[in-house]
């Protein structure tokens, strides 16, 4: 598969088949609450896109080696760093939009869509792939937001982009979260039927796993805490395959680290003796690990030799056949 095809497949997956809003039910709060007009929907889509792109690129470039619990807090900090200046500028220059958005604008700093994509894709992929994912996910999110906002404004207010359409009936309830959810429901059904026709091999239902809905919610707190919990799901990350050489090196490092750990005992003599023993055993372990590495290399060389000889034999046989 060429690079172009890979990128196209990635965009198709994150924008259509795994649409974050319609099939994964992520980032619903701002759409349901504030996408009540075309203008606010566009505003929301632009802010989300900015936040997504910046957070995913930063997460991919800087946060791969940061611990998970710190990463989650850092996504929030990035969100604040993006949203609050926008909030300040909106308050100052377009106060009517600011009034419409209310407290939902600062709440966008904790957008679950951003955290999900950063954890699922950005920290396991290259910056380029994370950027492509951020752009496609935010485009699909923006498109759904704009459609929802337009319908709600049209049917709920009888206007579109502020212009009165003079509709005979207005359904004001559509301006409530109810309206957002019901439009998302119908939009999800339309997109699902399109996917079933266009890509019959794909199933959007996989994005929202309902296999556990009948499990009992009762149990001791300890048991419930021990249940597996992975809201970020499986990733389509390009994780590097570890070779036998890497594994041997990793095992050696682990052993050495374990043996070199300081011994917690008050007796100094014992500590010194144990440190000496630990050092000697660590040396032995590292030597053994080097030997095992070396044997792995030798085995690989043997394999190469065999395949090379086999290739050479087949080539000479072919040459003999052609000469005959």
């Amino acid at each position: 598969m060429s690079d172009r095809e890979k990128i196209f497949r990635r965009i198709r997956n994150s924008a259509v088949i795994k649409n974050p809003l319609l099939f994964e039910a992520v980032g619903l709060c701002p759409v349901v609450a504030i996408a009540v007009s075309l203008r606010s929907a566009v505003y929301l889509a632009v802010i989300t896109a900015m936040q997504m792109i910046v957070c995913e690129v930063l997460a991919s470039g800087l946060l791969k080696n940061v611990r998970r619990y710190l990463r989650v807090a850092l996504y929030f900090v990035f969100g604040i760093a993006i949203i609050y200046p926008i909030m300040y500028l909106t308050n100052r220059f377009i106060p009517f939009v600011s009034v419409n958005l209310g407290i939902y604008l600062p709440l966008m700093a904790v957008n679950s869509l951003v955290a999900l994509h950063c954890e699922r894709i950005a920290v396991k992929n290259t910056v380029k792939n994370s950027f492509v994912d951020a752009v496609s996910a935010s485009l699909s999110y923006g498109a759904v937001t704009v459609v929802t906002g337009s319908f709600r404004e049209l049917l709920g207010n009888g206007t579109i982009c502020g212009f009165d359409i003079h509709l005979p009936v207005k359904v004001s309830a559509l301006l409530l979260p109810f309206g957002g959810l019901i439009i998302l429901g119908f939009a999800s059904a339309v997109l699902k039927s399109f996917i079933v026709r266009r890509y019959p091999e794909e199933s959007p239902d996989k994005s929202f796993d309902t296999s556990e809905i009948r499990r009992s919610l009762r149990g001791s707190f300890k048991d419930l805490m021990n249940d597996d919990f992975n809201p970020y799901g499986d990733s389509d990350a390009e994780v590097k395959q570890e070779s036998a050489f890497d594994l041997a090196r990793k095992n050696r490092d682990k052993k050495v680290k374990k043996l070199m750990k300081p011994v917690k005992k008050d007796n100094i003599k014992n500590r010194k003796q144990e440190a000496k023993i630990a050092e000697s055993t660590a040396e032995k372990a590292s030597r053994n690990a080097y030997v095992s590495e070396f044997t792995v290399i030798l085995e690989e060389l043997e394999e190469y030799k065999k395949t090379y000889e086999a290739q050479k034999n087949s080539e000479t046989q072919n040459d003999g056949g052609e000469e005959e």
């Binding site: 619903l28 996504y75 929030f76 699902k192």
Partner: protein
Amino acid sequence: MSIFLQLISASLYTMLFQNLIFSGGYGISEAVRMSAKPRQLLPLAVFITYFSTTVSAICVLLDRISVIHKTDEMLHAVIFSGVLSAVYMLTMSAVRLYGKVKPRTIRRIGISAFNTLVLAVPFINYRSAFTVVEAIGSGLGAGIAFVIAVLLINSGLKKLDANHSVPKCFKGTPALFIYTALLSLAFSGLSGLSSSL
């Protein structure tokens, strides 16, 4: 007695009359997603209640300082976010001190701390000028509102899953959204149209 009544009335107001999830849309993604995983309800509800109550109480206490009280909503937003981050980091440090933390616990705490429901509570307290007791009640109410929302959506999800007359293209999230929309309309009836807009 009056303190107890204040606590109860504030929590009832947050979980029923102004159900933050259905009437306000706060934390609706988490409620919808967790409705498909009922085993996660209790741990998440405990963590969400802990974060919403703690952050809510601390923010109201901080707002009593005159310098902070005089600032505008923008600076209040920064303070609320700072309090949430600080409570999260302190909680994580405490949990890590207690022993080896499993990745699933870290995920649970992360999702419980950083969601719109928990961050919305101090904003609502600030706008409603709640006292400390009312703020605690509002934090508790937010946690209970989350439990109510997940239980209601989960029961609907089970029925929708078993119903074979639902059209194929509406199976899954489309039907779930429409069902949640109807629940939301019902709760908006309790809070009133004008107050939610």
